[in-house]
Amino acid sequence: MPKLTIDGKEIEVEDGLNLIQAAARIGIEVPHFCYHPSLSVVAQCRQCLVEVEGVPKVMPACNTFVREGLIVKTNSERAINARKATVEFTLINHPLDCPICDKGGECPLQLTTFKHGPGYSRFDGPEEKKVRRKYYLSDRIMYDPNRCIMCTRCVRFTEEITKTGELGFEGRAFRKKIVVFPGKTLDNELAGNVIDLCPVGALLDKDTLHEERVWYWKFTDTVCPLCSNGCNITVGVDPRKGRVARVRPRVNLEVNEYWICDRGRYEFKGIQGGKRLKEPIVRIGEGFETATWDKALHNISERIKRIKEEAPESVAFVGSPLLTNEELYLLLKLAKIVGINNVASNAGKVEGGKKFGLISTDPFPNSMGVRDMGFASDNDGIGEVIKSILKGKIRALYVVGEDLFQFVSQEERGRLTEALSKLSLLAVQDFKLTETVKLAHVILPGASPYEKDGTFTNDEGRVQRIKKAIPPPGDAKPDWEILLLLGKRFQKEGFIYINPSQVMLEISERIPEYKGMNYEKIGILGIKKRE
């Protein structure tokens, strides 16, 4: 562990750190653009210059590594001036069109200019700045060579992280620009990450091009609901528009490092824009009618109670790996209280390795939670329930977040439709309109994973919090809340919780693998459940 001095402060750090990392340990920020902890060091942007005693030149902190006895000055006049000059050079041919730049407000170049720049430019004749045409690197990502500062982060990403090598640069000197190699397009499943990696507004997302201003947004740290890897994300919402505007990776070195896949990045739109259920609906004869929560829940609880009396084994509950641990727990608790044995949920399945170490073959965020909360650990359970339905053994069915048609073959769909139509009660709780919902007697509008609080357990057993980024549409409610409302109709005292955090406390007492867990401990990066 070498000891060194940075700005007069002595520190001891592990070998192999560069001076940007070492300085960060004592809260000293060395501005940088091309350096990124997960990419190779190229020392190209020259923004991180610092003074090192005994070295005549200023040195790039990113490419200078800690050594015993090193004396580093990030705050000497020479170092400060060198970095000021770098900013001035960088801005000479920069369009500085921050007012219409999508990066504005969260732009490292803007921030660096503000904090470390000279505050003025001696470049005379802004009208002479070189202007070059923008072009697309894929059908989603636009490149603006005028804003590009040639840090090559994007190029290194495709070389070193995805190893797909779509990007390169062409030309030298002021003609240099980022290009897609002939015959290729930047379409790998992680491609969208280059937009976040770019330290300026040179790589732009066509989806939000000139549509959003980041400073209006509210950010929520949550977890991606699109596969069992459980990538950490930050969801940006413009409260005035009330919908998710952007999903970005949130650093979690244990889970997704700095990245998310493009499904995780873009698919919220399908969820947000698709046909959503907004109010409780009750079937009256052949028609549907919107109902109050009270009426809809009453309808369900009364019918379940009745059918349960008549034939205890003819009532079944179905959960889903899209539900949070808390919701799954509540569903099981409800089943127990009512005395129902037919409870099942799809438990997902991870097959083979993850693409790019990230993308799982199990498209559900909480398959692990399904098993942990006490559902059958294989998919036999759900198969049995479907069989019972097809055989006409089930009379009342409460389905939460699942489309039963997923579990039958094309040929069996007709039979399932018929069997479901014959049920005395089909209550379906979901946020989207599925085939199962269409056959329901009572529809309870739930919330998408972007609209509720809770936890998911990823395929490596890491319990992570999801948080409500936006409210559910219309009268829809988070599923945990609906479960509470329904539960109270069966046993009042068993369902008194203020929030999912309290449900977790109960889980932590009942389920050994989750012993001692609470939201505070889970924190923003999650914790592993016990072995």
Binding site: V42, A85, R122, G125, F174
Partner: protein, 432 residues
């Protein structure tokens, strides 16, 4: 006064480039001697000779060779830097075209010394003739058994590969050169690591200039003591000086290091054309800070020039006379470097571009007084802040011109035009 020819001895002879001519004049006699020596003794001998790199930086060659870990598990490479692209420099080309076997013999000895079995000669794309000659020379050397397997029965193998560049100044910078040989864009690498540790294809590599390598057989043949007796104590041997610009007898002159610049210009070059006066001298290729006419008595060696704030560089001396506008000289320089910058470092990519803009405006009479200090400050910030020395190569001469000829800049700005008349340089394609 005659030159002191060692490397240039036979360049005027017909067919001097052929192996027959080289052998007839005593060539390839150093090789058998060297092969009988302990490689470490060769390195020692080169160290003792005081030979300093002729590629520009003047780094002691023997010391550079000793940086190689000779028992490396990876292959060790030698790269012969034949990219000569520095404006004002044309010394390597003559060696390549007129006496290439000297260089090849030097390559073979150097390979043996550093335990390398493969040498890449990186030749500039715009030297088709040199490339043709080298192709033949390499072929001849293989035929005679100087290259290939078991050289002269020594059991040592060496292959030489000729690699043609595509015409970029930056590929003469040693790590740009390595990138180029690896098939990538010629973009210099951040150092450390230095090529001797991690060089070509990630292996230990030595990069040496053509002229440096051409000195080696002579050192082996005649001894380190003989070599170090030429020149000054710390600047040993002869140097091939290139004279160009406003001079009566332009060309190459091989003379001991340390020869006074005055002698070079006035005796060998026979001075500037009649009626003209020396105004400035670029003593070591375009990257060297210029000297004024008053500094003409300086000895032409690495240390004296460094002490005077300039550098010997490639020893390509360009004489500028009083009919030439110094603003235009600076503008021309900036133009070259802004075109040749590889574009990695912002100080270089944008700095060269900015310098050219400011200089062009001053030259066209649209400059402002504050540009002068801005020029100086920009030059200052371009020095020592980038990955390679190209940015320094642009900033140093321009800074020296602005400092030493500030009055010309002021005059342009005051008059609102160039006192030397309109610029005749063309314009450049800025399209992309």
């Amino acid at each position: 006064m005659p030159e002191m020819r060692i490397i240039r001895t036979y360049v005027d002879r017909a067919n001097s480039e052929s192996i027959r001519s080289y052998i007839a004049s005593g060539g390839y006699t150093a090789l058998p001697t060297a092969l009988k020596m302990d490689p470490l003794r060769i390195i020692d001998e080169v160290k003792k000779s005081g030979l300093r790199g002729r590629g520009g930086a003047g780094f002691p060659t023997g010391i550079k060779w000793s940086f190689i870990q000779r028992d490396s598990k990876k292959p060790i490479y030698l790269c012969c830097n034949a990219d000569e692209s520095e404006p004002g420099s044309f010394k390597d080309r003559e060696i390549i075209e007129r006496d290439p076997h000297q260089m090849l013999e030097g390559i073979i000895i150097a390979c043996y010394a550093i335990n390398s079995h493969k040498c890449y000669i990186y030749i500039r794309g715009e030297m088709p003739k040199g490339a043709r000659v080298l192709e033949t020379s390499i072929y001849e050397a293989y035929e005679k058994g100087f290259l290939g397997e078991n050289i002269l029965g020594s059991g040592f193998n060496i292959d030489v590969v000729l690699f043609k560049g595509a015409g970029a100044y930056i590929c003469g910078e040693e790590t740009g050169l390595l990138e180029s040989i690896e098939g990538k864009n010629g973009e210099p690498r951040p150092k450390p690591p230095f090529p001797a540790q991690i060089g070509l294809f990630g292996c230990p590599t030595i990069v040496n200039n053509v002229e440096t390598l051409a000195c080696v057989p002579h050192i082996i043949n005649r001894g380190a003591e003989w070599f170090s007796s030429i020149g000054t104590p710390k600047n040993t041997g002869t140097k091939i000086y290139g004279l160009s610009g406003s001079i009566n007898r332009p060309g190459l002159y091989e003379l001991p290091l340390g020869i006074p610049l005055r002698e070079l210009i006035h005796e060998y070059g026979e001075g500037v054309p009649k009626g003209r006066h020396v105004k400035a001298i670029s003593p070591g290729g375009s990257s060297a800070p210029v000297l004024t006419a008053e500094e003409i008595d300086i000895p032409m060696d690495f240390d004296s020039l460094a002490k005077a704030g300039s550098m010997l560089g490639t020893a390509g001396v360009t004489v500028i006379d009083d009919s030439t506008c110094m603003v235009r000289v600076a503008e021309n320089l900036a133009h070259f470097y802004r075109d040749e910058s590889c574009g990695q470092c912002v100080q270089c990519r944008e700095g060269t571009w900015w310098l050219e803009k400011m200089l062009a405006k001053i030259e066209e009479g649209r400059g402002r007084m504050e540009y002068i200090d801005t020029l100086l400050d920009a030059c200052f910030q371009m020095k020592g802040t980038t990955i390679c020395a190209l940015a320094d190569g642009c900033a140093m001469p321009i800074e020296s011109i602005v400092k030493k000829f500030r009055h010309e800049f002021e005059e342009h700005i005051r008059l609102g035009k160039c006192p030397f008349g309109d610029r005749h340089m063309g314009t450049w394609d800025e399209s992309n």
